[in-house]
């Protein structure tokens, strides 16, 4: 290991940004905040992508590691302690200066700070908290900050970071317990899920105290609400009642020092001590074992105690982690099926109230022979399908079991998950555009969230026909097989039949709307059958 402690700022930046690039969380969204007079920075609820890197990904934050020294030896990571790479660290001042100056030139929306584990999780987390405190209080930065929680850090430090950051995340790394044990033996499920649970509880309480300013809800939450289903992050999921008079702590008077301080120490530590089941083996029972086991330990949290110790915070107006939390899973390093990954995703949204789950296609940087799946090419297509399915969960009201199942655990290579579902459920189609509900319209391939909203609104002024749909941005090339306008399909020859539609959708060239004919076939043409020479 080579230590470069006195490297120039440019070298440090080069090393520590290259080391951070495999963390794919890229959004700068979720929080809308006006600037404070005399101070630099504001935040936008919709994302702002300041640039796009050569791999096509959005660049919106200064994504760096505090240090790439690490005592862990995770097999997939380029910074693992057994690798021989130059190691260096930033100082908190350097991080603050870089953030401020880049922000002033409109290169970034804010800071994304992760880190390798230097000496111990608590030691590292303390350095991170110190940088964030400096950035917010000394340099007076009011832009977006995304902070990673180090697995195994103590709850006090996780909470401290949460008051300074807009978003926090802890990487799940692998979808199953077995995978994590195999590839990252230093990280345990318990160390990862405990801070997640803490942040979730803290956010719920912050919302109870500050209203929506204390934190936004996730898109999954809004979709579940719209569908009339039980909401994630609600009482049943958390095991404590937020917002009742009992545990509402007024911001200016945080109760007696002892009580609220006890809140963190007793509740979270009790939970950790009482929790013996988080390490249970789970291979396929992901929903049931892992996630529910943390749920069960919530019984340690009584409804009266708070999880937030506000006594050491002077300014809580930003709320606790207002932009929510996210996580990341590596795809393709271990042998889980798409169905397993998607089930874990759904459980995370439901039980931990996450904003986003990110998928990172496994890039084989270490060429470690003990890695189970050692292919060469990162599974980009699979990652793409997973993101498509993730969108279906968060915006379209699908459940993971509708998209995939135990008997069909992998995605269709040729068709996106929504088309695939539609073709497997032709009994729901065709859908009449002028009368269908919003949720039904969302199920039609070719109609997305925006188009469905426009259709519902435009219907109030008059009937719609196919021409109008085209103007509204509906992808008619896909949708024509599934919809009727005023009772008629767009072309009389369209067959509402699975094989015909599949052939048309899968082949790139057929565009019935552009007039490529009504009888598309791919069988070998023969003189006698197709040209009817036999009849002569």
């Amino acid at each position: 290991m080579v230590f470069e402690l006195n490297a120039a700022l440019s070298d440090k930046l080069h090393i520590l940004s290259a080391a951070a690039k495999y963390d794919v969380a890229c959004t700068s969204s979720g929080v809308s905040r006006k600037s404070k007079k005399g101070e630099l920075g504001a935040a936008e609820a919709a994302g702002i992508c300041h640039s796009f890197a050569a791999d096509g990904r959005c660049v919106s934050l200064l994504k760096i590691l505090f240090t790439n020294e690490c005592i862990f030896n995770c097999k997939y990571c380029i910074n693992r302690c057994s690798n021989d790479v130059p190691r260096t660290s930033f100082t908190p001042d350097e991080i603050c200066q870089l953030t401020m100056e880049f922000y002033r030139r409109n290169y970034i929306e804010g800071l994304f700070l992760s880190s390798g584990v230097m000496q111990s999780p608590d030691y590292t987390m303390e350095l991170i908290c110190d940088s964030l405190r400096k950035l917010r209080l000394e340099y007076k930065f009011n832009g977006y900050v995304h902070c990673k929680a180090i697995p195994g850090a103590s709850p006090e430090l996780v909470e401290m970071a949460g008051w300074y950051a807009d978003r926090m995340s802890v990487n799940l790394e692998l979808p199953t317990e077995a995978g994590l044990k195999e590839l990252a033996p230093n990280k345990t499920r318990k160390n990862i899920l405990t801070p997640m649970r803490q942040i979730q509880a803290g956010m719920a309480e912050s919302r109870a105290i500050l209203g929506m300013k204390g934190g936004n809800q996730s898109s999954y939450w809004y979709t579940q609400k719209r569908m009339g289903r039980s909401l994630p992050g609600s009482q049943e999921n958390l095991g404590f009642v937020a917002g009742t008079a009992n545990n509402r702590i007024p911001a200016e008077n945080a109760g007696s020092k002892q009580n609220t301080h006890k809140g963190i120490n007793n509740n979270i530590k009790n939970k950790i001590n009482a929790d013996n089941n988080l390490n249970a083996d789970d291979s396929l029972n992901i929903n049931n074992n892992i996630i529910n086991n943390t749920h069960n330990t919530e019984t340690a949290l009584s409804s009266r105690d708070s999880v937030l110790a506000q006594w050491n915070r002077s300014d809580t107006s930003r709320g606790f982690v207002p932009a929510g939390q996210s996580t990341q899973m590596i795809i393709g390093a271990t042998g889980e099926s798409d169905y397993q990954i998607l089930s874990v995703t759904e459980a995370l949204y439901q039980k931990f109230d996450l904003k986003r789950v990110f998928y990172s296609a496994f890039v084989n940087v270490n060429n470690d022979s003990s890695l189970i799946v050692n292919d060469g090419q990162p599974p980009l297509h699979r990652e793409h399908r997973l993101y498509q399915a993730d969108w279906l969960l968060r915006y379209y009201g699908f459940a993971a079991g509708e998209i995939l199942s135990e008997s069909r655990p992998f995605f269709n290579t040729y068709l996106d998950p929504k088309c695939d579902w539609a073709l497997g459920h032709m009994e729901y189609f065709p859908v009449e555009i002028n009368t269908a509900s919003y949720n039904t319209l969302l199920r039609v391939p070719g109609i997305g969230v925006k188009s469905a909203g426009r259709i519902v609104n435009a219907r109030k002024t008059g009937r719609l026909d196919f021409n109008a749909l085209k103007k509204m941005g509906v992808v008619l090339k896909r949708a024509i097989y599934f919809i009727t306008c005023n009772g008629r399909m767009m072309y009389d020859f369209l067959k509402v039949e699975e094989d015909y539609i599949t052939r048309n959708l899968v082949s790139g060239e057929t565009d019935v709307v552009k007039g490529f004919g009504d009888s598309i076939t791919y069988k070998q043409l023969t003189l006698f059958d197709d040209f009817q020479l036999g009849k002569l």
Binding site: K21, G41, I48, A53, A54, D55, R57, K63, R104, K471
Partner: protein
């Protein structure tokens, strides 16, 4: 027999176009026979046969009147649509605004959602183009510190539509304590913001343009650091220039630090 089409010619400015809408509106000639043509001094226009040409004087009072009427008889959102269309450089915007407003007086509030109507779809498209371009420039605009004491930031953009006000408003908030200049090269305008919060926009003379251009010729430590960062963060195995070009069109890269060779 069909009536001859009336073409109202006006100045190529928001007030001019709204004045033409006013004149056309009160004439009661019939919206199917009215066209509005904003005139640019430099361009050459074809004269149509069998059409009447009427020159409209620009009047701020008439323009204000039109906006007030839209606000009261249709909705605030409709005013927003019309204002956004006025920021665009689309030659057809006069016609589209006129048709939109006429239909709006009949239909009322719901007009802004009635995308099945031709004129509404068109004005929606124009508004979307303008705001998308403003959003892109908020993302891709790059400032440089052209002066150290006091610190002055300056940026240059070359938009197709008149998005300077939209972009400036965004930075007025987040850079509220900074001196900054945003120079719009295609429309020869610039906005100047002072650290105490005041902001002005003015049309530039040739000399002023040259001076601003010369200010941008600086070598910056943080610009170099940004280039280092930008080049480090791409994952080699996922390189995809086509995707990058789809997300970040080439013509936006002209004044972006990370894509510029020198500086």
């Amino acid at each position: 027999m069909d009536k001859p089409v009336r073409i109202y010619q006006c100045e190529n400015s928001p007030d001019g176009i709204l004045s033409a809408v006013f004149e056309a509106g009160i004439s009661g000639y019939g919206h199917n026979y009215i066209k509005i043509q904003p005139l640019d001094q430099d361009s050459i226009y074809n004269i149509e046969l069998f059409s009447e040409y009427i020159k409209v004087e620009t009047s701020a009072k008439k323009a204000g009147n039109v906006l007030e009427t839209i606000e009261s008889r249709i909705s605030h959102e409709a005013v927003f649509f019309v204002m956004s269309a006025l920021l665009s450089e689309d030659g057809d915007r006069g016609n589209v605004i006129y048709q939109f407003v006429t239909y709006g007086f009949t239909i009322g509030q719901g007009i802004t959602k009635a995308l099945q109507l031709e004129c509404v779809a068109r004005i929606f498209e124009i508004k979307r183009k303008v705001h998308n371009e403003a959003h892109f420039y908020k993302e891709f605009i790059r400032f440089q510190e052209v002066k150290k004491v006091p610190s002055v930031l300056m940026a240059k953009i070359e938009p197709k539509n008149r998005v300077l006000t939209l972009v400036t408003a965004h930075f007025e908030d987040r850079f509220n304590a900074e001196y900054f200049i945003i120079y719009d090269k295609s429309h020869k305008e610039a906005s100047f913001h002072s650290a105490d919060g005041g902001c002005i926009i003015r049309i530039l003379t040739e000399d002023e343009e040259k001076k601003l251009d010369s200010l941008l010729d600086v070598n910056e430590k943080y610009a170099d650091l940004w280039k280092i960062f930008f080049n480090s963060i791409a994952v080699e195995e996922r390189k995809n220039y086509k995707l990058q070009r789809g997300n970040l069109a080439l013509h936006y890269r002209k004044y972006m630090t990370e894509f510029m060779e020198n500086n």
